[in-house]
């Protein structure tokens, strides 16, 4: 495996990807013949209308699900060769996530939520790193607050800190501003790209927000599960 710091190392490669699910009315095609490659340090926006298959594609690329057909390589590993646990091990500490609904654990404080992936990855400096990343998102003073005590924007900043805390090779973001108002959303986007740039992380995000998509180096537009256009800045 090529070291991930090589700028041109492919982080994600998908070839002829299809996803079909059986329904009562026959087979439903969600994704059809999607081919893409994302190299280290790239930023890719997957856009499209609701139901166009954006989130499904994100899930497949991150190894959260297996494609019906086609091939995906994540961090140099062919996902089809790995079982659920092997895919989990591949993600541990090297893949970060940001979700539309934040997905913070309600019982944990802001600091502890950031701490969680570090602890899971067995990092010895977990607490310092968590504090550092919470400071990076300007939430040091809210470290002891639970998600319930934080605003939506603050919760998403905690989620950003959590996503970047393990120094992942790639961060997947699913509609990261979907639950936020325009102003807050814009600030979150700024922060996301700032963190991404400084950490040199690869970023793959799903959005239907054109402004957000425009900030990515590449854009892939899906219509009814098919790639309609690929745009590079």
């Amino acid at each position: 495996m090529t070291p991930p710091d090589s700028a041109r190392f492919p982080i994600v490669q998908a070839r002829a990807l299809s996803q079909r699910v059986p329904t009562a009315d026959g087979e439903l095609v969600i994704l059809s013949d999607v081919t893409l490659e994302v190299k280290a340090g790239d930023t890719l926006a997957i856009t499209g209308a609701s139901g166009s298959g954006k989130s499904t594609l994100l899930g497949l690329l991150a190894g959260l699900d297996l494609a019906s057909s086609g091939d995906i390589h994540l961090l140099g590993q062919r996902l089809a060769d790995l079982d659920e646990d092997a895919r989990a091990r591949l993600r541990a500490g090297r893949v970060g996530f940001v979700f539309q609904s934040f997905q913070l654990l309600p019982a944990l404080t802001a600091l502890e939520n950031v701490l969680l992936p570090l602890e899971l990855a067995g990092r010895t400096d977990a607490r310092e790193r968590a504090a550092h990343w919470l400071a990076r998102v300007n939430l040091s003073d809210r470290a002891g607050h639970t998600p319930r005590q934080l605003s939506g924007g603050e919760q998403q900043r905690v989620a950003l800190a959590r996503a970047f805390a393990t120094d992942p090779a790639v961060v997947f973001a699913d509609e990261p501003t979907g639950n936020l108002d325009a102003d807050t959303g814009a600030r979150i986007i700024d922060l996301l790209f700032e963190l991404n740039a400084s950490a040199g992380t690869t970023l793959i995000l799903v959005t239907h927000d054109a402004t957000l998509a425009a900030r990515c180096a590449r854009r892939l537009h899906l219509v009814a599960g098919r790639v309609q256009s690929t745009v590079s800045a």
Binding site: S55, L58, G59, A62, L64, D65, E84, D85, A88, R89, L90, R91, A92, G93, R94, V95, F97, F99, S101, F102, Q103, L105, P106, A107, L108, E112, L116, P117, E119, L120, A121, G122, A126, T146, P147, R148, D174
Partner: protein, 822 residues
């Protein structure tokens, strides 16, 4: 950080947020009720065993016609006695007596009461009299025209009567043929020179010690004994009590089992809710790279720790509560109840953990199989692949637990079968009831209509809740029914005014005189029954022993002489099971007691031969009948038709009730010196005390079952809390008033409670009909009050616990709830 530490860390964090409260509460109440039931049952059983030992005089009694030289190794306390028949004389009067030569340790359990005159209560003291003295039964005094202080002769030795035996252990065992008792010092037997080679002797070896040692000793002993030797355990002390003990045992088993099942139901529901609330967490951890093994370790650690914590708290709670409640209900007997044993503590702990394992296993397996994709698609359920494995695994665990509790395999099979059947019937009935509710809903208006529509809309949840409520109500009702029928049954066995004196050896010509004496004093007496002693020797022309398998030849019925009687009228406590009662008509027909018929393989139509004196009397079995041995009436194994035994010399027997405080019996003894009076009033008093204790304890246990039933109701309601909250928030946002919502909720709970009550009534009646017959040998009957009580109790219970668990739903401002739900 290791995954175990991570598990503990998450657990600690969630404790602060109250996330574990529901599951912990279910565990504490569940284990608490199992522990309390177990503790009380253990203490009650040991109390009963002690009671039996007091009646027997020892924990274990071995009788043998020969001295036993070697015993299996044991550290038990022992006492040795020798029993033989001998003439006791004073001047011209003489009487056959049963002499028991005892050592200083006799009896090991209970006490012998010695009085200074006849019919006095006396005081407990050692049964071994001072040197040169004996203690005698009060009936011996008039027979010998003697008083305390007089001297009598036994064989070649003379003894002073130092006191009267007012009470001794084992008094009730076969009272009728017994010659009056004499207690003698074991070291003075030789001086009497009455024992000759060939004398009929009974060696009595008593043992006492802790239950395990005694049981181990009994097990080791049995193979070493031959046909002529018998081992009698503490519980066999009094035959009249044995039936009561057996029923209590069955009842306690059933109670423990039911409280365990209720606990399991509560834990299962709480665990399911808990798992559902952690699907997102599990999915997130999977996204972050946690493997299945890591998730399994994580959640197993948490469940195990929680199980331990809940079980420990439950056990402690059980220990405290059983003590408080025992003191509240049985204040006089608290001091005499044995202390809490360590065994039920471990059993309760193990039960708690096993119940949690069994109940939580399916939920846990679903939790660790949550797909990581759930982080993107919240509606994604965990993989259902291994659900059946989880269900069968937990089924096996629970079955093992039930088996461990019930002990008896038929009880387990019956119970599990009944439960499975019940589950299916309940599911169908609950569905049907909900469909019927649709009709009612059309007629209803406002909040009631809304409440009912809520019930119908969540058909799956409603069926589950209805099923759980019904199960809890049904099980508690079942035990309440068994309890009241059992208690009534016992009360009937020992009604106030049950005979407390037996009059034995009434000569035929004394019948009228005795009858008149009793009538003059307005004493209630039984009929006078003639009594002839005889031995069963033949069946259908063959020696009886030859007709039986070797193991049945040891029967007591064959070894000892039986009390035979004749009567034209069936005695009140007897019931014909097969054949026809002979009445006054059929000569040489007999009626045989059902237990004896079973032991000796006798059936209607068999011809039996009895050795009576030097004659053999042949008779045909005309009927088999059941006898209530505990009725304190003269009871007989064999009743002849009138005319068959008329020519043989008979004496008569009767039982009589002498009200407490009426001192007429000394006068009777003076008037009829030849008639033996057996006073059983102290013994009956003891029997009543034992039954009172049993009844009190059973009431206690029932209280605990109610708590376990409540736990199921609360767990079920809490499980549906999240969904209810979401709906309430939506409705309030849409403009529903608080009062309106509250009324709707109450209407829903009311409907659920009433429906569950009705279903439970039906189930309880059916189950009771089966149980009463199979397990408790009680007559079946319908309980109309149940149909009113259960729906009312159900409605109140569900409404109260429902309102307590969900009331804040209507109070929280919608905005706060929406934010809380994130």
């Amino acid at each position: 950080m290791s995954i175990v530490r991570l598990a503990l860390w998450l657990l600690r964090r969630e404790r602060a947020s109250g996330e574990w409260r529901v599951l912990l509460l279910a565990l504490v109440i569940g284990v608490g009720s199992v522990a309390t039931t177990g503790f009380l049952a253990d203490r009650m059983q040991r109390a009963m065993r002690d009671e039996g030992a007091r009646f027997l005089g020892a924990d274990l009694l071995v009788t043998s016609p020969r001295p036993v030289e070697t015993w299996p190794a044991n550290a038990l306390a022992t006492s040795q006695a020798l029993e033989f028949a001998s003439m006791v004389s004073r001047g011209d009067a003489f009487q056959l007596a049963t002499v028991r030569a005892v050592d200083a340790a006799y009896p090991l359990r209970g006490s012998v009461r010695i009085a200074d005159r006849a019919f006095a209560p006396g005081a407990p003291q050692p049964a071994q009299p001072p040197t040169g003295a004996i203690y005698v039964d009060q009936q011996l005094l008039p027979l010998l025209d003697a008083a305390v202080g007089d001297t009598v002769q036994i064989g070649e030795a003379r003894f002073r009567i130092a006191g009267v035996v007012a009470e001794e252990p084992g008094q009730l065992g076969g009272v009728f043929g017994l010659a009056p008792r004499v207690f003698l010092r074991a070291d003075e037997v030789a001086a009497t020179r009455v024992l000759q080679p060939g004398s009929r002797l009974t060696y009595l070896y008593q043992f006492a010690g802790d239950p395990q040692a005694t049981a181990a000793f009994a097990t080791a002993l049995k193979p070493a004994l031959d046909d002529t030797q018998r081992v009698i355990g503490g519980r066999d002390g009094v035959e009249n009590l044995r039936d009561g003990f057996d029923k209590l045992d069955t009842y306690l088993q059933l109670t423990a089992l039911i409280s365990l099942l209720l606990a399991v139901a509560a834990i299962a529901i709480a665990a399911h809710r808990h798992a559902r609330r952690h699907y997102d967490q599990a999915a997130l951890l999977r996204c972050m790279g946690a493997t299945t093994a890591q998730l399994r370790t994580l959640y197993l650690t948490q469940f195990l720790l929680l199980g331990l914590l809940g079980s420990l708290v439950g056990v402690a709670l059980g220990a405290v509560l059983q003590h408080l409640l025992a003191g509240l209900v049985l204040p006089d007997t608290l001091a005499t109840l044995p202390r809490l044993g360590p065994a039920p503590v471990f059993i309760a702990l193990a039960s708690g953990l096993t119940a949690l394992a069994g109940a939580a296993l399916p939920a846990l397996m679903r939790l660790i199989r949550v797909p990581p994709l759930r982080v993107l698609r919240r509606d994604l359920p965990p993989l259902p692949l291994s659900a059946w494995i989880g269900a069968s695994l937990s089924g096996a665990v629970l079955l093992a637990l039930i088996a461990a509790y019930a002990g008896d395999i038929t009880l387990v099979a019956g119970f599990v079968g009944a439960l499975a059947g019940l589950g299916t019937v309940l599911a169908v009935l609950a569905r049907l009831a909900l469909v019927a509710g649709r009709g009612v809903q059309r007629l209803a208006t406002g909040p009631l209509r809304f409440g009912l529509s809520q019930l119908l809309r969540h058909r799956f949840d409603s069926t589950l809740q209805l099923g759980a409520f019904t199960l809890a109500l049904f099980l508690v009702a079942l035990l309440a029914l068994v309890r009241s029928d059992l208690v009534d049954g016992w009360r009937q066995q020992l009604p106030p005014g049950a005979p407390n004196h037996f009059l034995v050896n009434i000569a035929p010509e004394q019948q009228a005189e005795v009858g008149q004496w009793l009538t003059e004093r307005r004493l209630e007496a039984s009929r006078l029954y003639p009594m002839i002693r005889g031995r069963l020797v033949e069946k259908n022309g063959q020696p009886i022993a030859a007709t039986l398998p070797p193991e049945a030849r040891d029967s007591n019925t064959l070894r000892r002489e039986l009390n035979l009687t004749w009567a034209a009228e069936l005695p009140a406590n007897n019931q014909i099971l097969a054949g026809r009662w002979h009445g006054a008509q059929v000569a040489n027909d007999i009626s045989v007691e059902s237990g004896m018929a079973e032991r000796l393989d006798l059936a209607v139509g068999d011809a039996l031969g009895f050795q009576i004196g030097d004659q053999t009397i042949n008779a045909r079995i005309g009927s088999i009948r059941s006898v209530k041995w505990e009725s304190m009436q003269p009871n007989f194994f064999v009743i002849f038709s009138p005319g068959a035994l008329d020519t043989l010399p008979a004496s008569y027997i009767a039982s009589v009730y002498v009200p407490p405080g009426t001192h007429v019996m000394p006068d009777f003894v003076k008037t009829f010196p030849g008639i033996t009076v057996l006073a059983l009033d102290t013994l009956i008093g003891k029997l009543e005390a034992v039954f009172a204790r049993i009844i009190g304890a059973i009431q206690l246990l029932l209280g605990f079952l109610l708590a376990a039933g409540m736990a199921v109701v609360v767990a079920t309601l809490l499980a549906s809390l999240d969904a209810r909250q979401q709906e309430a928030v939506l409705l309030r946002t849409l403009g529903a008033e608080r009062v309106w919502l509250a009324k709707g909720l109450l209407a829903e709970f009311l409907a659920l409670g009433v429906l569950a009550g009705l279903l439970a009534s039906a189930c309880a009646e059916i189950a009771m009909a089966v149980l009463a017959d199979r397990l408790f040998d009680l007559p079946g009957r319908v309980h109309p009050w149940l149909w009113l009580a259960l729906p009312t109790a159900g409605a109140l219970l569900v409404m109260a616990s429902g309102w307590l668990t969900t009331r804040h739903i209507t109070r929280v401002p919608p905005m706060q709830s929406i934010r809380a739900m994130g």
